[in-house]
Assembly symmetry: C2
């Protein structure tokens, strides 16, 4: 299975690296990081760069396409060349997937029309602009499109995908290999679980920038 | 708080990027990726490179030092220059931390003597060679040293660290921001929970390379 992970300036590193670590652990599966062009791509924090080994022009197909989120993608929502590339690769995929606000990019490319989908909880409603039906959930499968919730949800989605494509034993081996037995010291990972004041504070930051 | 994350050829990307995504989300905290020298560093899979913006010679102190694991660190266990750098930075830190087999590097630097510590479940016993007491657990705090279990455990450890240093409300806001409400589709993230055949398969890969 060939996996293409799109990266762009301002993407969120864990959106991409969480699923990467799962998918690259499957024997025979091969991950490539694809930028608009080859070269260094900086994350949203600016604190680290990842290397895109391939540019969009070099990659025209994939078994799995994965689109991470990140504040840098807002200006890409009207990038015709990038959206055309997403549609082109999607025509070849077994699975087209996104993490966090990566679903906005899939939506802008027209790939979520009349599909149930998810994304970061702060940006769910925006999916309606693209004809999608925003539903909750850690990850949402509709046909060959799987969208995951915010940032860390890509790990869960990728394990699900490995289970579907390579079988549960392989997925369990990958989970054990990365010792994914989560035990967060707080229970505030969703707006339903976090204290109201924390939800308001995080919402305010997103609203006011 | 200044955070220095060491990266080296053959490190495991999620070991570094999981905690990075948590720590970089704290207002005022600043993360730097440090390589032996500046420039691209490839992960253990070879499928992606990260950019070290700083070389060791440029970074002589940190509030938090974080050392990820990865198969590439075996040859570093006798790298005098690197081990001396770890000791030098450790003298300045509030917290010295590791993820996965990063604890082997802390051990080789002499920083785990007579300390309780953890690491990837496959490499726990090796910590005894460095005078450490390998105990189980998602992360283990002993004095100012916190070691985390395999790969994904760095996310939990980093949230704990944010809670300790910046308070529980900030840690909860970070957890909500990265929507860390884990829900893996399988329950095989530790050798106690995974089916015996899966544990044996993963152990055999580690044994036989």
């Amino acid at each position: 299975m060939k996996i293409a992970i799109l990266i762009y300036d301002g993407f969120t590193a864990l959106d991409a690296i969480g699923p990467y670590e799962v998918l690259r652990s499957v024997p025979g599966w091969e991950v490539e990081f694809v930028g608009k062009t080859r070269g260094e791509v900086r994350t949203d924090s600016g604190a680290v760069g990842l290397c895109a080994d391939r540019g969009m022009a070099e990659v025209t197909s994939a078994g799995i396409l994965l689109v991470p989120g990140g504040s840098g993608n807002r200006e890409l929502l009207e990038d015709r060349e990038l959206l055309a590339w997403l549609r082109e690769v999607d025509r070849t995929t077994t699975w087209t997937t996104s993490v966090c606000t990566g679903s906005l990019l899939l939506g802008a490319a027209g790939l979520l029309e009349r599909r149930r989908a998810t994304g970061h909880w702060l940006f769910l409603e925006q999916l309606r602009e693209y004809g999608a039906d925003p539903v909750g959930g850690r990850y949402v499968e509709d046909g060959k499109v799987i969208t995951a919730a915010g940032v860390s949800a890509g790990i869960d989605m990728a394990l699900y995908l490995v289970g579907r494509e390579a079988g549960p034993e392989v997925a369990q081996a990958v989970q054990l290999g990365i010792e994914y037995d989560p035990d967060p010291p707080f229970d505030a990972g969703s707006p339903e679980k976090a204290p109201a004041a924390v939800v308001e504070a995080v919402s305010a930051i997103a609203r006011d920038g």
